[in-house]
């Protein structure tokens, strides 16, 4: 450094020292500002930042329980009827995902699943998230994934699949887009099938992927839904449905319902509500009534089928037998209302016995049974009404939910004393009008009539299928055990509790002896007698006792019974027994159509085919 003026040099140097001092203090000042600021953020505001971080970092996610599958039986083995399938949504980030790459991949593998117009999607500015394909099966999703296109995600969805197509759709119901079971078994056993969702509360990264970091992470595992095994037999169900559909085609009927149940256990082996719909496209039905299970959800008037119950009551009370006679004049006037017999052939006028009355389904015969219940053969009285009510409501449990594991309507049985024209109402009730009962109630009561008098809670759930075994869930208590106390809600029946909101509450199964053996035997005789002409015609095969009863119900049009019979509902109920043996299966069919005449005879033809099919299907051995 050249030496200049020494004085100047000194002053510049001390000036330099001052300037260094400025720099030193500048460092100190700036760093002090930062430290103060940090103290403020990290110490003073710490709690607020933590609270905010919790809000932004915490992922609250439902762990979806796997919905249980639905099985039917097939020759003693459970077979899947409703399965789950995992499908995928394909999600992209249009700002990262290359348009041509994803387009090519989607078109190559999954063109039918594309949900958006990619060109339009890519024309949107700043879009970071878009679902481009839905319901993509796993295999196709993994093919797309294998392309390795950046920023493509797959989100899982569970979907119900129906390997048997439309089979028993009216019985099974469906699962809606929210994952909620609707109608049928899906609806009534929704809680059991759905299981219980778990909960995941965790710190997550910016892509909402759970991290192991964090102290308050919570994981409640999901309880998967139970696989429900129905007692319905797949092959039998299919056969019954096919037969019924054929009858719908060949008659004016547009709808039919059919029920086959074990006469001695109450176990339902076929339940059809036709025509079916496609549960995988459940939104495509024309009318929501297609979803209704006609067997359990629709109370109706089964008409003369109910003579079975009026007759049983009088016989069981010891006031009547098959041979009891009365004077048939073809009609009866009750409360100034003339009740006619449908059958008016002259040979029936005069004194006939009850067996004949049932054979020809004479309303005068069942009204006479009601009179006998009252102890007065010439008039209906209070005692008769109360006895009939006791049998209908308390013993046969008509007008009450049967207890089957399905959504049920209760129906109604009119009060014996309250209201106008009780005698005529009760006269009508003896031949199945003026009341509302479901097919399952009717068939269950009919089973009691023919099986030796045992009313047993009907059931359609055999158990839960897990690890290759069916876990039993139902137990039977005899009625005396539960008399006087409300059914308990403890124990295993809690497992099967459906939705009380839809009227389904499962109770322990009840077995109640309501009729004597003699009554039941006498009724069976009459039912077989009813079908003698079918046996003679070779429709009922030799070696079997097939009994049955028809019903032709007038429907109420504009508030009154339509006497022109322009629209009627045909019903037939009966049973199969090996000759000389006890009934094994009870079969009930119902056919109807808007504005069409369908009687018990037409329904009986459907019964005939179903009955013979059941015999063949189960290889029921003939008796001797």
């Amino acid at each position: 450094m050249p030496r200049s003026n020494s004085h100047q040099h000194i002053s510049s140097m001390s000036d330099l020292g001052a300037r260094f001092k400025i720099l030193r203090y500048l460092v100190l000042l700036l760093l002090a500002i930062i430290v103060v600021r940090l103290f403020f953020i990290q110490i003073v505001e710490h709690d607020a930042w933590v609270a905010r971080a919790d809000k932004e970092h915490t992922l609250l996610e439902t762990i979806t329980a796997k919905r249980g599958e639905i099985y039917m039986m097939d020759h003693g083995q459970p077979v899947p009827i409703v399965l789950n399938q995992t499908t995928y949504q394909v999600i992209i980030d249009p700002s990262v995902t290359e348009k041509d790459a994803i387009k090519a991949a989607l078109e190559k593998y999954s063109s039918e699943y594309i949900t958006v117009d990619l060109n339009e999607l890519y024309s949107q500015e700043g879009l970071r998230y878009a679902i481009v394909a839905k319901n993509v099966p796993h295999q196709i999703a993994s093919q797309i994934a294998a392309e390795g296109i950046p920023a493509v995600w797959f989100s899982k969805n569970n979907q119900r699949v129906y390997p048997e197509g439309e089979l028993a759709s009216g019985l099974l119901g469906f699962v809606n887009d929210d994952g909620l079971g609707q109608y049928g078994v899906e609806g009534s056993l929704n809680q059991t099938l759905a299981g219980k969702d778990g909960l995941l509360k965790t710190t997550a990264d910016v892509n909402k992927v759970a991290l192991s970091i964090g102290k308050d992470n919570v994981k409640i595992p999901a309880e998967d839904g139970k696989n429900v095994v129905l007692s319905v037999d797949r092959g039998l169900e299919r056969g019954v449905e096919e037969i019924a559909m054929k009858h719908i085609e060949n008659t004016p009927a547009t709808n039919a319902a059919a029920l086959v149940m074990n006469a001695n256990t109450g176990e339902v082996v076929a339940m059809a509500s036709l025509p079916n719909y496609d549960p995988s496209n459940y939104g495509h039905v024309k009318d929501a009534s297609a979803y209704t299970n006609q067997v359990t959800e629709v109370p109706y008037e089964p008409a003369s089928v109910c003579k079975s119950f009026a007759f049983s009551a009088a016989i069981n009370e010891g006031v009547m037998s098959a041979d009891t006679t009365y004077f048939n004049q073809g009609y009866e006037i009750v409360d100034d209302w003339k009740i006619n017999n449908a059958e008016q052939r002259s040979s029936l006028y005069g004194i006939i016995n009850m067996k004949t009355a049932l054979y020809w389904s004479l309303n005068t015969g069942s009204i006479y049974a009601l009179k006998l219940l009252g102890g007065n053969p010439s008039a209906i009285n209070q005692q008769g009404r109360e006895k009939l009510y006791d049998y209908y409501y308390n013993k046969f449990r008509l007008g009450q939910a049967s207890g089957i594991e399905l959504i049920e309507a209760e129906g109604f049985i009119p009060d014996p004393n309250e209201g106008w024209g009780r005698d005529s109402v009760y006269a009508n009730m003896t031949f199945g009008q003026n009341l509302g009962i479901t097919m399952i109630q009717t068939a269950t009561a009919y089973s009691a009539v023919v099986n030796g008098g045992y009313w047993r809670t009907p059931t359609i759930v055999k158990g839960y299928y897990q690890d290759g075994e069916i876990a039993q869930i139902n137990s039977t208590t005899s009625a005396s055990d539960t008399t006087g106390e409300a059914p308990t809600t403890e124990g295993h029946q809690a497992d099967i509790a459906g939705e009380a909101a839809v009227g389904f509450v499962a109770n322990d199964r009840i077995e109640d002896k309501i009729l004597s053996d003699e009554t039941s035997a006498m009724m069976r005789d009459m039912f077989v007698y009813n079908r003698e002409y079918k046996a003679r015609a070779g429709i009922d095969r030799p070696g079997y006792d097939i009994g049955g009863k028809s019903g032709t119900a007038q429907v109420i049009k504009n508030g009154a019974y339509d006497d022109t019979m322009s629209e009627t509902v045909g019903t037939y109920i009966g049973y199969i027994a090996p000759k000389g043996g006890m009934p094994q299966y009870v079969i009930m069919v119902k056919m109807w159509a808007e504005g069409a005449y369908l009687d018990g005879l037409i329904a009986s033809n459907l019964f005939d085919d179903v009955e013979n099919y059941v015999i063949d299907y189960y290889r029921i051995k003939p008796g001797v």
């Binding site: 020292g17 030193r24 460092v27 760093l31 990290q42 930042w49 971080a53």
Partner: protein, 414 residues
């Protein structure tokens, strides 16, 4: 020119530099896998979980090479001789990058519309980092020469060439590369060195005022820069969140959640994708989350010691050009540290500047390591006393160019 006898280098600078590098490795080791995970899941890339740690390890290794080259191998005289050429090359490289970027060449690597890197296959290189180093060397010789010629402050002999070089550098960095952070560092280097160049305080302050006016004008006329300023004001006033405030908010969220002691290594949540640039520009915020107030206090303390120590070496350095150079390195480091940390704590707008020696990013670390290496080399030639004491009695200037022996032994005993 007076030369002092060589003595031991400044160990405080050495160890604080190595300490910061080590700390950077630790933090990148902890959050590198998270960063890889975020990039993989968001952009479908395929980074190994060790990718960023290995990258940082490589950067640290290269930086150490540069550091010791500057410290032990490359003689200062050589740097002095080629300072001008070095500056020309640096400006030429930045100019070349600009041209390449304008012509859309793949050799220019652009991110978010700013082209700041040369794309050299597997590695990329940021010429602005080189420019900072070159400017320090160049200004040291330039200012020294002008002082020797007695033309400091002369409009034609001094201000014109200075304005051309600095203007060209700033234009290339701030306008062509859109790198406001490096621009701030350059301005800090220029004014730090001018302050100790011997320039009259009057001219100096006029120049500071002039640059402030230009800077405010440059910010106000650019929507992009105004957006950052608005975002910063929005954060300060705690008004509504938006995309622009996202970065600052998440940086402060990370720092705020750290509390007194931090959440601990590997427990950072903000590093899992919430905080942008978590491994480079925002590494300070992640350190705040991880190590808490105490940890950050220590980090700031190390930077403070390093800066004060560099300043001390400058003050004790006899040769004007060397002193200028050291102050340049000081100003550079100070600018980066302060602007980066203040941005992370919401005190200044986010400019996109790395935290020296800690941030992920090879070029920036290598060059600052080299610069500190040069300081360390020069620290071997300091006078025992700071210059102001020398000035009072110039006759004692040559006496005992050592550290007091007591001080050395006390350091050794620790």
């Amino acid at each position: 020119m007076t030369t002092n006898r060589k003595h031991k280098s400044d160990l405080i600078i050495l160890f604080s530099t190595l300490g910061l590098m080590g700390l950077g490795l630790v933090i990148i080791y902890a959050i590198g896998p998270m960063r890889a995970n975020v990039l993989n899941s968001t952009y479908g890339q395929n980074y190994d979980s060790n990718y960023f740690f290995l990258g940082q390890l490589r950067s640290v290794a290269l930086s150490l090479v540069a550091f010791f080259l500057a410290f032990k191998v490359i003689p200062y005289s050589w740097l002095q001789r080629y300072a001008k050429l070095f500056m020309i090359i640096s400006i030429a490289l930045s100019g070349l990058l600009w041209v390449l970027a304008l012509s859309g060449s793949s050799l220019a690597k652009c991110e978010l519309g700013e082209c700041r890197w040369f794309n050299l296959g597997p590695v990329s290189f940021q010429p602005a980092e080189l420019l900072k180093l070159a400017l320090v060397f160049y200004l040291a010789t330039f200012l020294n020469q002008k002082k020797a010629e007695g033309v400091l402050g002369d409009p034609r002999e001094f201000w014109l060439p200075l304005a051309i070089v600095c203007g060209a550098s700033l234009f290339l960095v701030v306008v062509a590369q859109g790198d406001l952070g490096t621009g701030v560092a350059l301005i800090s280097i220029i004014f730090g060195m001018l302050l100790v160049s011997g320039l009259s305080i009057k001219q100096y302050l006029i120049m500071v005022g002039l640059v402030l006016v230009v800077a405010v004008g440059a910010v106000a006329t650019s929507t992009h820069r105004m957006e950052r300023v608005n975002a910063w004001i929005a954060t300060l006033t705690q008004s509504e969140s938006s995309d622009s405030t996202y970065h600052i908010e998440n940086a402060m969220l990370a720092i705020g959640t750290g509390g007194l002691f931090g959440v601990g290594i590997g427990n950072s949540v903000q590093a899992t994708g919430y905080l942008p640039e978590s491994i480079n520009d925002s590494v300070f915020a992640i350190m705040g989350e991880t190590f808490g107030f105490i940890g950050l206090f220590i980090v700031i303390g190390i930077f403070g010691v390093l800066l004060r120590r560099i300043l001390k070496v400058a003050e004790m350095t006899q040769a004007n050009d060397q002193r200028l150079l050291i102050v340049g390195v000081f100003a550079w480091t100070l600018a980066q540290v302060v602007v980066n940390i203040m941005a992370m704590t919401g005190l200044v707008p986010v400019t996109g500047i790395t935290l020296p020696l800690l941030s992920y990013g090879g070029t920036s670390m290598i060059f600052i390591a080299f610069a500190i290496g040069v300081v360390l080399q020069l620290s071997c030639y300091t006078n025992r006393e700071v210059i102001k004491n020398e000035d009072i009695s110039s006759g004692r200037r040559l006496r005992g160019a050592h550290y007091p022996s007591s001080r050395r032994s006390s350091r050794n005993s620790k």
